[in-house]
């Protein structure tokens, strides 16, 4: 399609998405109210109203909203010839693999419900609703019996699905050649090599100052840090999402990070957030879901046992229980290869008028899911704001970490990127690990599926997530995984089994993330 037609198609898609949104209503109201002002004249009405909206900051808000729409999912540039499943995932065999994985999860959830005699969903009696409402802020003091519940799946189960992927049209011949891949991922997806990564991540180069490296205590703050923080304050004053995203590539100062991330994700409407959160809380009080028990169990098993995050246990329940009730999340399935599980109201099976999604947001949590929320608790202490930012982070990035897709930020591509980087730049190490039966991906997968949450110490993790937001990509996660192997290569060459390799890489809490990435990309 020629460029003009493509541009007008994109614009019309954006307009359709933004029409009827809260921003649209507010701008209309502002435009109507400004008609009272004396400087708005009838003969130049259109231009005067536009000028007013520009000077009062509404044009900037509209720009930020457009910026968000462009980054959330793909706008399909082609004519509507492609069916909707193609937007979810273009490759047919990946869609099939995702569908059969989902079927396994649903069967597992059904059998859990039947065996334990716990319904998937039930209405809470009024007394129970009141009880829960009273202890909403201290749900961690509750000690429900969760021994019968087990997580629906763990990262290692999903790893087996990813490793088993095969492209039916791919000629994986027996002859080993230069093309042969030593790793576990056997699908030929397009991933960047080091040269392309260097071009894409120029702001991380050795010559560029950044947080995580140049804010070290030994370096005088006047050399970099103070100026950088001043620039950050200016960016926040401008309230420009695109500028904030560019700024975040070199890291966010601790004091400004919360506001910068909210600006990048365009999650800045406080009254709307509070209203939505209250409505979701009402949904939690009204209905009890089986998935709630899975959430409780997950939090107890992971975040509560972590020195950094156990203090936030209450927040985690408040966010994740509301997350399960948020039907607006269903919107993101348009560009997610996954499909939300469907069900019917008891007694009305087959009647489409009584078809519902379960859970309401269509996302079944797995073991470790609560770790997506935990680091955000350091930034936001207001539950509605915390929820709003988490929702944006999940629907932009985290969903790609646990669904089978060919997207370049999808977990399959990240695994392949990790293995390719390792094989190309540390072939001796890779070969050695392969020989002793310690495939590197088996160790690194659990880091990547959680975007390193719970493995790095929090301030380092937040530096990594700054770059994820700044580059709008999860590739830094795979690059860091390879960089960690490079850093511990000497020790890993000495090991003789998978267990000892795991032991060498068990503790990442002392690692400094940005120097590792920088050296791996630019100095190796």
């Amino acid at each position: 399609m020629d460029e003009d037609a493509e541009l007008s198609l994109t614009v019309s898609q954006l307009v359709r998405r933004l029409k009827g949104s809260h921003l649209h209503a507010e701008m209309e109201r502002e435009a109507r109210e400004c008609l009272h002002q004396p400087e708005i004249r009838l003969d130049t009405l259109k231009d005067d109203v536009r000028k007013f909206l520009r000077t009062s900051g509404w044009e900037r808000k509209l720009q930020n909203a457009v910026h968000r729409e462009l980054h959330v999912g793909r706008l399909s540039p082609s004519l509507p010839v492609a069916p909707p499943e193609h937007l979810k995932e273009p490759l047919a065999y990946m869609r099939k693999a995702q569908a059969s994985w989902e079927k396994r999860i649903l069967k597992s959830l059904n059998s859990m419900s039947t065996e334990l005699g716990v319904p998937l969903a039930r209405m809470r009696p009024a007394a129970e609703q009141q009880d829960l409402s009273n202890k909403w802020n201290e749900m961690s003091t509750d000690e429900p019996d969760l021994s019968r519940f087990r997580p629906v799946y763990a990262p290692k189960d999903f790893l087996e699905v990813v490793v088993a992927l095969r492209s039916p049209n791919h000629d994986s011949g027996e002859n080993a050649g230069a093309r042969s891949h030593w790793g576990l991922i056997q699908v030929p997806l397009d991933v960047k090599d080091i040269t392309q990564l260097r071009r894409a991540y120029t702001e991380l180069s050795l010559a560029t100052g950044q947080l995580g490296i140049d804010d070290n205590a030994h370096i005088h703050p006047d050399l970099f840090e103070n100026d950088y923080i001043d620039i950050g304050k200016k960016v926040l004053a401008e309230q420009d999402s695109a500028a904030a995203q560019q700024y975040s590539r070199r890291g966010c100062p601790t004091g400004l990070r919360a506001d910068l991330w909210a600006l990048i994700l365009n999650s800045v409407n406080q009254p709307q957030d509070v209203m939505r959160y209250e409505q979701l809380k009402a949904g939690v009080l009204q209905h009890d879901l089986l998935v709630d028990n899975l959430i409780y169990k997950d939090v107890k098993l992971t975040a509560s046992n972590d020195d950094d995050y156990f203090v936030f246990e209450d927040f985690l329940y408040q966010v994740l229980l509301c997350f399960s009730r948020d039907a607006a999340i269903l919107e993101h399935f348009k560009h997610n290869s996954a499909t939300p599980p469907k069900s019917y109201i008891q007694g009305k099976e087959g009647d489409e008028d009584y078809a519902v999604f379960y859970p309401p947001n269509g996302v079944i949590p797995f073991h470790g899911f609560s770790m997506y929320v935990a680091p955000l608790c350091f930034l936001y202490n207001e539950p509605s704001k915390l929820y709003s930012v988490f929702r944006e982070m999940y629907t932009r990035y985290f969903f790609r970490l646990h669904s089978v897709s060919s997207a370049c930020s999808g977990i399959v591509s990240l695994c392949l990127l990790f293995e390719r980087l390792l094989q190309t730049h540390l072939p001796q190490l890779f070969y050695h690990l392969q020989q002793i039966g310690a495939q590197p991906l088996r160790i690194a997968f659990k880091w990547m599926i959680r975007a390193f949450s719970g493995y790095l110490c929090t301030d380092q993790l937040l530096f990594l997530w700054d770059r994820i937001l700044g580059y709008d990509s999860l590739e830094p996660v795979a690059v860091l995984a390879a960089a960690i192997f490079a850093f511990r290569a000497e020790n890993l060459m000495e090991v003789t089994s998978l267990a000892s390799a795991e032991a060498v890489l068990a503790d990442l809490s002392t690692l400094k993330v940005m120097p590792l990435i920088q050296i791996f990309l630019f100095a190796s």
């Binding site: 009272h36 010839v81 969903a121």
Partner: protein, 246 residues
């Protein structure tokens, strides 16, 4: 689009209108689904193997001829298809110039080596949908009697490659709207003489209008624009017992 206002008093024009309606209906089908065309089976080009001793090996080039209904030529607006692991596409057209019925039709290249996959060794773009517009072609695709698609896949990574669901969309005719405008013209003449211009004070009109707008704002402010959070239950009920396995 399908309702033509027919002037019932005129029998002759009724016949014309019916004729035009039939034409519009035929091309409406073509426009939505593409011209009916038959794809010949793909011909993979091999080299070697002619002497019986060496095995023929695939050159990575495949040719698909798309035959239009015999005797019919098409002015192409676009060619749409679904890719299946083809890396590069060339399009050649056989054009029959009108008025020269006896002359042989000439082949020309409309598109040369258009990349469909960024990297022929990897999956990116391998199963995507594409549309080749007439503006992207090097020659005007008019009076086309046959289309030849030349597919190239230089990588040995794939077992096979082709294109699926090839559709050729014809150029749409401008809508026959003469019928409609004649009817409207006739209506205007019946209305009588045009109204006289009255000099107007712009400032007083704008004042009045602003007051009206302010009033309408008061009325509309009672409507709430708040984006509602989607309800997940059905009339307050969310008793779910089993997940549905499709």
């Amino acid at each position: 689009m399908n309702c033509l206002i027919i002037n019932c008093g005129d029998g002759g024009r009724l016949q014309d209108a019916q004729q035009r309606a039939k034409q519009v209906r035929m091309s409406a089908d073509d426009v939505t689904k593409g011209v009916a065309c038959t794809l010949k089976p793909p011909v993979f080009l091999h080299f070697g193997g002619g002497d019986g001793k060496t095995q023929a090996c695939c050159s990575g080039v495949c040719v698909i001829d798309v035959a239009l209904p015999p005797g019919k030529t098409v002015n192409i607006e676009a060619i749409a298809f679904k890719n299946f692991y083809t890396a590069l596409l060339s399009v050649r057209l056989q054009r029959r110039s009108p008025g020269q019925e006896g002359a042989a039709a000439k082949w020309c290249t409309a598109l040369r080596d258009r990349p469909l996959m960024n990297n022929p060794h990897t999956e990116a773009g391998a199963q995507d949908y594409y549309t080749i517009d007439r503006k992207q072609m090097q020659v005007d695709p008019d009076d086309v009697s046959c289309v030849r698609l030349i597919l190239k896949q230089p990588s040995s990574a794939w077992l096979t490659f082709s294109l699926e669901d090839v559709r050729i969309f014809p150029r749409t005719q401008p809508e026959p709207d003469k019928e409609l405008s004649d009817w409207l013209l006739a209506l205007n003449l019946l209305e009588g003489r045009p109204q006289t211009q009255v000099p107007v004070d712009a400032a007083s009109v704008s004042c009045g209008l602003q007051q009206m707008w302010a009033l309408s704002q008061v009325m509309q402010s009672s409507q709430s624009h708040a984006a509602s959070v989607g309800r997940f239950d059905v009339d307050g009920c969310y008793d779910v017992h089993l997940l549905f396995l499709t």
